[in-house]
């Protein structure tokens, strides 16, 4: 620091121009990628996600009993994707934190000063976070499959990744985690507050379905089917009232319901 103190130098030490320096969406994407990957909490959360996915799959596979009524393929998918039940919480918390952490630390003001039109920050963050979450989730799920399928073969349950019923559900499981994470991200963007965002998302994913399950009215059953977590389970566990593409649309609908007000308020509110 002494050198800098004794020599109040010019703003451009080298006086080399910065020719291509201008704001672009690809630049904002790159910026969000740097932000996502340079926080220890993010890296840890993704590592935990992979470990949980593999660990829970192993515990299930080792305790599987033969003669289950399910097909071999769905048993294999069940083992590889059981970790999603816990990891949807991990990805939800991370999704909220990715944006609420910017508000709690003041980082958002640096981010929005660099990108004063604001919305590119929201979209770039959503894209980078959901794509990264999808890829990491898929890695975790495929790793869980790789670990659990030999165990299951030993128990007489054989499956193949080439089977569309297997790979489509495994990809669906990763897609579900990415979508529920994206939903949490926009809830965080809307509420701008870490505890509030986490409470809202976990409430909708965990508490609301549990409470509704105690009510036997017909309309409550229908309502439950439309919740993001229940609709999304179709993507990997199968069953449910929706086709997979319908389930994706239901989840995208939930995302839109929070993303649109989040975007409008981001434009309007003081940062």
């Amino acid at each position: 620091m002494t050198a800098a103190v004794t020599a109040p130098s010019h703003a451009r030490a080298s006086h080399q121009p910065l020719p291509e320096a201008r704001l672009r969406f690809t630049g904002v994407l790159a910026s969000e990628w740097i932000k996502l990957t340079t926080l220890r909490s993010t890296v840890w959360a993704y590592a935990v996600l992979i470990l949980l996915q593999v660990g829970m799959g192993m515990v299930l596979a080792l305790n599987i009993t033969t003669g289950s009524p399910q097909s071999d393929a769905s048993t294999a998918v069940f083992a590889a994707s059981i970790g999603v039940m816990l990891n949807q919480l991990v990805i939800s918390v991370l999704g909220v934190l990715v944006i609420s952490g910017e508000y709690s630390t003041g980082q958002i003001r640096s981010s929005l000063t660099a990108v004063p039109k604001r919305l590119p920050v929201l979209w770039a963050k959503a894209i980078v976070f959901s794509v990264t979450s999808f890829v990491v989730s898929l890695v975790g799920i495929l790793a869980a499959y790789a670990v659990t399928s030999p165990i299951l073969s030993g128990a007489g349950v054989s499956s193949s990744l080439a089977d569309p019923e297997v790979w489509a559900h495994l990809v669906g499981a990763a897609g579900y985690l990415a979508l529920i994470g994206l939903f949490a991200f926009f809830v965080g963007a809307l509420l701008r507050n870490t505890p509030g965002g986490i409470a809202a998302v976990l409430g909708l994913v965990l508490v609301v379905p549990a409470v509704l399950s105690f009510i036997s009215a017909e309309w409550v059953t229908v309502l439950t089917q439309w919740l993001p977590a229940s609709a999304g389970q179709t993507l990997f566990f199968g069953g449910g009232v929706f086709e997979p593409w319908q389930a994706v649309l239901v989840m995208l609908g939930w995302i839109a319901v929070v993303a649109i007000p989040a975007a409008v308020l981001l434009r309007r509110r003081d940062a």
């Binding site: 620091m1 320096a21 926080l39 220890r40 910017e102 003001r109 640096s110 990108v115």
Partner: protein, 321 residues
């Protein structure tokens, strides 16, 4: 060039900024001065679009900040120390900001060296002192090689060396032809750094003038103590000089250099017990500026008051002749 026109920001029924208009010109340091809560930070935040004006308009180099193709090349802003995620290292924070504009890695290293952050660039910002946070904020502001710099209380939390460095640095930026807007609540800091000062109070512009005018008239004064103070005071009287009684043997003189007073004392053969330059606080200047506004309305015509510095009845009353 920053141009604000009738800029207003209302929070609920309180006007934080109330119809402020000013122009900040390139090639000089413009000081933005006012007590805490006067509306300085809110105004600065509106310039870069972080706060939305309730009404009015502010442009940077001819258009709203957000409309520029390369915003960081137009304006570098240090609005608060540590507007940074605490879990990220200084270098990664700067890399992330630089990436938005495709600013190359070497420029990140340059601003790290420039602000003296090299030793701590790899450390997480959460452990930074306020001073290091200020340096990081300054580094971020400089990333885009901006034509305009907006610095909110940049010397806050810096050690004396850092304060000197910021002063010199800010002056060199202005000398390069850049526009520099610098806020402070310390009049003395402004006197040393700024060429032009905009004083803001209760959300309104109170004064907008070259630094010499404001500091000379309202801030620095000379405390003179002498057993024959009345005799000396009479010799100092001239237009634009204000002599104020503070004690039987002491006056405060505004508008004269200490050399002039000392020479006058020698010429008159008056012994001096004290001759000291006193830098007033912003609060003094601010009080005086607002009092001036009041006085213009109830002004006594100049020349009708006869300043008799030794007359105890004029104590605590400013008299000019």
């Amino acid at each position: 060039m920053i141009e604000a026109t009738a800029l207003t920001k209302r929070y609920g029924d309180k006007k934080a900024v109330d119809g402020v208009s000013f122009t900040v010109r390139p090639g000089q340091v413009t000081g933005f001065l006012g007590p805490n809560g006067a509306g300085k930070s809110t105004t600065m935040r509106m310039i870069v679009g972080l706060d939305r004006p309730t009404s009015g308009r502010v442009t940077v180099n001819g258009m709203p900040y957000a409309e520029h193709r390369s915003p960081l090349h137009e304006v570098g802003a240090l609005l608060e120390a540590k507007a940074v995620h605490t879990g990220r290292s200084a270098r990664n924070h700067l890399r992330a900001i630089a990436a938005t504009h495709g600013i190359p890695r070497r420029r990140v290293d340059e601003v790290i060296d420039l602000t003296g952050l090299h030793a701590v660039a790899g450390k997480r910002v959460g452990g930074f002192s306020l001073g290091m946070g200020q340096r990081l904020g300054l580094a971020a502001a400089l990333l885009g090689d901006p034509a305009t710099l907006i610095l909110d209380e940049p010397v806050n939390g810096l050690d004396p060396e850092g304060v000197l460095w910021v002063r010199g640095f800010v002056r060199s930026l202005a000398a390069e032809g850049r526009t520099v807007l610098l806020s402070s609540h310390l009049m003395s800091e402004m006197a040393l750094t700024a060429d032009h000062i905009i004083v803001i109070g209760k959300g309104r512009v109170i004064a907008d003038a070259p630094v010499g005018d404001i500091v000379g008239s309202t801030q620095t004064y000379i405390r003179v103590r002498s057993p024959r103070i009345g005799e000396l005071a009479r010799r100092l009287g001239q237009p634009d000089v204000v002599v104020t009684d503070v004690a039987a043997d002491t006056v405060e003189v505004r508008g004269l250099a200490p050399e002039v007073i000392g020479d006058a004392a020698l010429a008159a053969g008056v012994p001096l017990y004290e001759l000291s330059v006193v830098s007033g606080s912003l609060e003094d200047a601010y009080m005086e500026l607002t009092r001036d506004e009041v006085e213009y309305r109830t002004a006594v015509p100049a020349g009708t008051t006869n300043p008799t510095a030794t007359n105890p009845t004029t104590s605590n009353q400013e008299v000019a002749r």
